[in-house]
């Protein structure tokens, strides 16, 4: 396992983000320890996806700071985040639809492939070796996710559940230190959810990957996460272990409020 536990890999402090008049995030602070599975929950529109977008530099907050691997920044840049080991999946699958599952996962390894275009055009020596080595790594991921049979299929033709799996594969291909998953189980049936849970836990245990995930299914959240942060209307409501959060009155109210109205 990389680094020590009980050390914050990521710390966001007083993050505020607004779109015109919409305050998506207000003064949100929390941290993610190395090696943990951290869940972010909250009702629709609470600002969960926005938070992930801030962490990997897709949105730039107006206030606050992001400390990742002990480097403090006012904002991230997508490219810098990817290079520093942050990978993610999206709420609405963002795969490259015209490419095969294999090619999609291979794109996750752009940072590991350095040979310039002349080498690639010739496809000999170092460029060829580089392609083989990365292909072997990606085949490992394909085996892990049990998607050998669909390697060559353009992802646009795959069913939803498998697309989610390929997208996870693309994120894993980057060998991330921090993996951000935006509703990895949304829209899946029970069996697919169980598979996905198993993959997430395996990634966390086998590779020691730190995971921050958004999930609506409370059963799943309680099962797989070490700690939970609850957002509502852009503000942090609660933060703690699943048991603590479940007992929190503010959280119960927020969820009941949503259920009522």
């Amino acid at each position: 396992m990389v680094g020590e536990k009980n050390e914050a890999l990521l710390k966001v402090e007083n993050i505020s983000l607004a779109f015109g008049g919409v305050r998506a995030l207000e003064e949100v602070s929390f941290d993610v320890m190395r090696g943990e599975v951290r869940a972010i929950i909250g009702p629709n529109g609470a600002g969960k996806s926005s938070m992930l977008n801030v962490i990997n530099g897709f949105y730039h907050p107006q206030k606050g700071s992001i400390t990742y691997k002990n480097r403090r920044r006012a904002q991230m840049k997508p490219h810098a985040a990817a290079a520093a080991g942050i990978a993610r999946t999206f709420q609405n699958i963002a795969l490259f639809r015209g490419m095969s599952a294999l090619d999609n996962i291979m794109t996750g390894r752009v940072h590991k492939m350095k040979r310039g275009f002349l080498w690639q055009a010739l496809h000999i020596g170092p460029a060829r070796r580089e392609e083989m080595e990365n292909r072997a790594f990606v085949e490992g991921i394909i085996d892990f996710l049990e998607i050998q049979a669909i390697r060559r299929v353009p992802v646009g033709r795959l069913p939803y559940g498998l697309q989610k799996r390929v997208e996870l594969g693309r994120a894993l291909a980057a060998e991330p230190d921090l993996l951000l998953l935006d509703e990895p189980m949304a829209g899946m049936n029970l069996e697919e959810k169980e598979d996905m849970c198993r993959f997430i836990l395996d990634v966390n245990e086998q590779f020691g990957t730190t995971i921050a995930l958004i999930e609506h299914d409370m059963g799943v959240v309680m099962d797989i996460s070490d700690r939970v942060v609850v957002l509502d209307h852009g503000k942090k409501l609660a933060d703690g272990t699943p048991a603590e959060v479940r007992g929190d009155q503010a959280v119960v109210d927020a969820y009941l409020g949503v259920a009522r109205g």
Partner: protein, 357 residues
């Protein structure tokens, strides 16, 4: 079972990643190569000079545009302009350094076109689709205007349209009117084969995947760490290189004259149609499209005579436009992967024959 993937197992990734992983594909390619080399023995000079030469040269340009539009998803209407770049720069290089090997001249003219391509590719960071097409159209008109108006490009020749100077390789004339059509054919064939191979290598490696990622979803590509500007400019540069070489070959090995009308807006559209009909995102499709668009008018012109019909030549050219229009609409709507995809489907049918289950 003529054509099979099943049973053709790969034991290493190297084998699986070979250019043509399926044995029968390798035979197809080998047969095509042998046939291409043997063409001058059987084809008449007329066929060589009016069909095979232009098809090969236009295939290079179509590959170039396909890399940019089919793979990287950047719509361009400037292919003709970049071809003109290559033609005029080849003229400048070979008149300034007459001893320079023609392959080097063609490479340098390709590089010049690539540099110009990078400049005109810069707007692609901010604008997409239709608006990008309009800026490439501006490139097309600007470049042709430049080459027509600035006499330096034609060494102040009085006519303004200089003939391609005769040059030799290994003691054999390969350019200009004095070169035999066979010599020109073999030079063009060799360059086409090499350039097609290099393009195939590019698109199956990291760079090809980056291009396709930008094409399919540029935001996701950026988030996994692909740099959009660098990726798009690489596509513009390499694409323009191919178009530049094609333009130089067109002037030096085919029409033997360096003139702007050969590279006007109609040329740009013709090459765009080639990749739409041949298949966006396919190297094979670039060849099929170039052959199709070159052969269709020949066929339509000869068809009335074949069937003993009296049709005026103006009507034939009208029919030509209608057929092109219909085909383009058909492929855009029904089969955006073009002839290359139809070929693939045919292979799949063949593979399952005679047990289609």
């Amino acid at each position: 079972m003529f054509y099979r993937e099943a049973g053709d197992f790969k034991s290493t990734y190297a084998e699986d990643q070979a250019l043509f992983p399926i044995a029968l594909d390798r035979w197809f390619v080998l047969a095509a190569a042998v046939m291409a080399c043997g063409v001058p023995l059987v084809a008449s000079e007329y066929w060589l000079s009016t069909i095979f030469l232009p098809v090969l040269i236009l295939s290079i340009a179509a590959i170039g545009l396909n890399l940019l539009t089919g793979y990287a998803g950047q719509l361009s209407l400037g292919a003709g302009g970049f071809m003109a770049c290559g033609a005029y720069m080849a003229y400048k290089f070979t008149t300034a350094f007459p001893e320079l090997n023609m392959v080097v001249v063609f490479a340098l003219s390709g590089l010049s076109a690539a540099a110009v391509g990078i400049v005109f590719g810069i707007p692609s960071l901010r604008i997409k689709g239709f608006y990008l097409a309009v800026t490439t159209l501006a490139a097309q008109f600007f470049l042709l205007w430049l080459f027509t108006k600035v006499p330096w490009f034609v060494n102040y020749s009085i006519s303004g349209v200089p003939t391609a100077p005769p040059r030799e390789m290994f003691g054999v004339p390969v350019t200009g009117a004095s070169a035999s059509v066979e010599a020109r054919y073999y030079l063009v064939l060799a360059l086409t084969a090499i350039l097609a191979l290099l393009a195939k290598n590019l698109v199956r490696g990291r760079i090809g995947r980056e291009w396709m990622a930008i094409r399919d979803m540029d935001i996701a590509a950026e988030i996994i760490g692909i740099r959009p500007l660098k990726t798009k400019l690489t596509a513009f540069a390499i694409s323009s290189f191919y178009c530049g070489v094609a333009g130089a070959l067109w002037s030096f090995c085919y029409i033997n004259i360096v003139e702007p009308t050969a590279f006007d807006i109609n040329r740009s559209f013709a090459i765009l149609f080639m990749i739409i009909i041949g298949g966006l995102g396919s190297i094979l499709g670039s060849f099929l499209g170039a052959a199709f668009i070159t052969l269709l008018p020949v066929f339509l012109n000869n068809a009335p005579a074949l069937f003993n019909l009296q049709i005026s030549s103006t009507l034939v050219s009208h029919i030509e436009f209608m057929v092109f229009g219909a085909l383009i609409i058909f492929f855009l709507i029904v089969e955006p992967h073009g002839l290359a995809r139809l070929w693939q489907i045919a292979k799949e049918k063949l593979r399952l024959w005679p047990f289609p289950h």
